[in-house]
Amino acid sequence: MTTGRPLHLAAEIGGPPRYEPDHYLGLARLAEGGALDYVTLGDSFARPGPDALSVLARIAPVTDRIGLVPTVDTTHTEPFHVSSAVATLDWVSRGRAGWTADVSTTEAVARLFGRRTTAPAEALWREAGEAADAGARLWDSWEDDAEIRDTATGRFIDRKKVHHIDFEGEAFSVRGPAIVPRPPQGRPVTVIDGTTAPARAVAARHADVVHIRATSPEQAAAARADVHRLAAAHGRSARELRVLVALAVDLGDAETAPEPGLESGPPLAGHGTYFRGGPVDLAELISQWYRAGAADGFHLTPITPARDLERIVNGTVALLQHRSLFRTFHPGHTLREHLGLARPASRYALARTAGERR
């Protein structure tokens, strides 16, 4: 190993629409068996299929360690509701929740709501950034020890430790505090696909995990460096971020396909670069890119989830584990622990204690 940093692996479990929870549970348990960091479930209001956050909440109590990361629209939703739902996913999964913040750019989705027309991507992503910012403030708005249950004074909470956030953005305002007490991870993990420039700017500022697309390790390394540079401008260090290469994978029918490799065309728009080959070839690619320092890990989207995820876990992941490039079990319980990301302190707790010291 050349980097000394652990490799992170995640997988998408969406695909053709399914409405039975056992379908999703089977895939999540498969990923959990491979000790993957998290599963994602892509979503949009125009995509046939069930609400992704609900699906992952449905399987939370019957999985143990795997991180659960639904896509959530920030264009047509209320930031206050979104932050409550994601925090609740963290409570019901005991610290395994994340969310992929995304925007709706089409008129077709706007007409399903009928309260606004669509806007340029820059504006939608600025709004997504505000939603992420307001959400993080709401998650911080209860300090960890706000609940005191002090029978002597009759006080259930210490109100000094529950804060209004008074968020004023361009697109909305939120007074706060949160209804949901601070979730187990402090802040659930925020994931953003940083492929486009406006999304990357927001990701660098607000995301814990950034997905990027690349067709070569050099390109990936450059994108990762770009994310780090943008993050630094907001006072964030590379240690606070994970950058994962997004790959759509088709592991085909054979153990090793005749001509493995990446395709430059976009057969699956939106799912990153398209890899075709066998599980061993994929392990080879991940090893090479990772050793070259191109990324912190990979987010794999199997094009046929039931078939390809099984091959990823039992073929690719098993080989990476055999080579000691990837762990064989989850050493911690929370998604932040899997990702090696610190549990953040509440900004309001820090401000209050700083104020008290003065």
Partner: protein, 426 residues
């Protein structure tokens, strides 16, 4: 008889100072209470909603349980650890949009195998609105026209797939909503999730008669229940509905002990715990609309007048006529020689059914037999064990009498409630 369990949390009946009181937020609490309700063959499990923490004089209220999870997310998780229990979420029709909510409710119905319910509430509260894009608020009549159009729009979306599984475009152009396009979730196991309406106002009753499957009410006495029954069931015919199409389920509290006398004693203890000295003063402040922190809860009533509309107590149900309430409480205090706290306990708290298991079972059965209710939503005072006594001691008696099911006979909430699947209006 139909039975439902309310998760005790953010309200003044929950006694958090009891050593048996557990977490109001850990999933284990929800799982425990839901499993208990399912063990008791209850129709459904009911979650309230919070959209803004209650405040007094600009400060967060700190004397009752504070903080709760988001309902639909918890219910989806509970669907994994229960098999038959209905799962009812309170979701506000003022601060949500039909497309998104219809999708989330249809998802819950699919993922739970047909056990979803939606308790429709509305808000006219600018205070709550400060957490949302909409900002502002709607006046009382607009709240209900929006809610009614919200429910009918959701139903258009739920009906938009043909029974053989083909999506058809929806085009709703109404006063409050303009929704067009294709719904992305096929018709769910119940056709439409069960719709519950909470509230006793005239507009609320009319809305329930037109659109709801269950009405969640509060009425203390058998007489009040009978009057409510006659009124609400009488409104159904206007909408082409029969008396069995809307179930009346009052929220009730139950205190059970070995004997009636012990239960009465336990009930008095609970009432005392519900009204701490601090809570007694705060209850008074709600009526008086001013700071009364200088008064002794064990002393006499303040001799100053209420200041209505002071905005002192926000995020709480408004007291309709503070002067009348203040006068009534003063009179009660003088007549019986009660302190502030004793007066609040005497007038503001009351358990609905108190006694031995036999007494409670008989009381509940009388309400149903005499057409004062179709069933009850139990509001326990403890999290999460507050239903144990009822399920272990009262439910078996109700079952022996044939007043309540011994086994689930269907798998969906509509089946438990004896409600027909809605006719597809494609």
């Amino acid at each position: 008889m139909h039975l439902a369990a309310h998760f005790p949390g953010v309200n003044s009946t929950t006694v958090w100072s009891d050593p048996r009181s557990g977490s109001q937020i850990d999933f284990a609490s929800f799982e425990y209470l839901a499993r208990t309700a399912e063990r008791g063959k209850f129709d459904f499990f009911f979650l309230a909603e919070g959209l803004r923490l209650r405040e007094y004089d600009g400060r967060v209220h700190d004397l009752d349980v504070v903080g709760r999870p988001e309902s639909l997310t918890v219910l989806n998780a509970l669907a994994a650890v229960t098999d038959r229990l209905g799962l009812a979420a309170t979701v506000n029709a003022t601060f949500n949009e039909p497309y998104e909510l219809a999708r989330r409710l249809a998802t819950l119905d699919h993922l739970s195998g047909g056990r979803a319910a939606w308790n429709v509430v509305t808000s006219s509260d600018a205070f709550t609105g400060e957490n949302f894009r909409r900002g502002g608020f709607l006046d009382r009549s607009d709240r209900y026209t929006r809610a009614a159009e919200f429910v009918s729009t959701a139903r258009e979306l739920w009906d938009s797939w043909t029974p053989d599984g083909m999506p058809r475009p929806v085009a709703h152009h109404g006063t409050h909503f303009d929704v067009s396009g294709e719904f992305t979730v096929p018709r769910s196991p119940q056709g439409h999730p069960v719709v519950i309406q909470a509230g006793d106002s005239d507009e609320g009753r009319e809305f329930a008669a037109s659109a709801a499957d269950v009405i969640f009410t509060r009425h203390g006495t058998l007489e009040a229940g009978r009057a409510f029954w006659a009124d609400v069931k009488g409104r159904l015919a206007t909408y082409g509905r029969g008396p069995d199409d809307l179930k009346i389920m009052p929220g009730v509290t139950v205190v059970v002990a070995d004997t009636d006398a012990e239960a009465q004693q336990y009930a008095a203890e609970i009432r005392r715990l519900q009204v701490s000295p601090q809570n007694a003063i705060l209850t008074l402040e709600q009526v008086w609309g001013r700071d009364l922190s200088g008064y002794d809860p064990d002393g006499p009533f303040p001799d100053i007048d209420p200041e209505p509309d002071s905005g002192f107590a926000q995020g709480r149900v408004r007291v309709a006529d503070p002067f009348a309430v203040a006068a009534k409480w003063r009179a009660l205090s003088e007549e019986k020689g009660l302190s502030i706290r004793e007066t609040v306990i005497e007038s503001a708290t009351r358990q609905s059914f108190v006694g031995s298991p036999e007494t409670v079972a008989a009381g509940l059965t009388a309400f149903v037999d005499q057409k004062a209710a179709d069933g009850f939503i139990l509001v326990p005072h403890l999290t999460p064990g507050g239903l144990d006594d009822f399920v272990d001691r009262v439910v078996p008696l109700l079952q022996e009498r044939g007043a309540f099911r011994s086994e689930y006979t269907g798998s969906t909430l509509r089946a438990h409630l004896g409600l027909a699947e809605p006719v597809w209006k494609g």
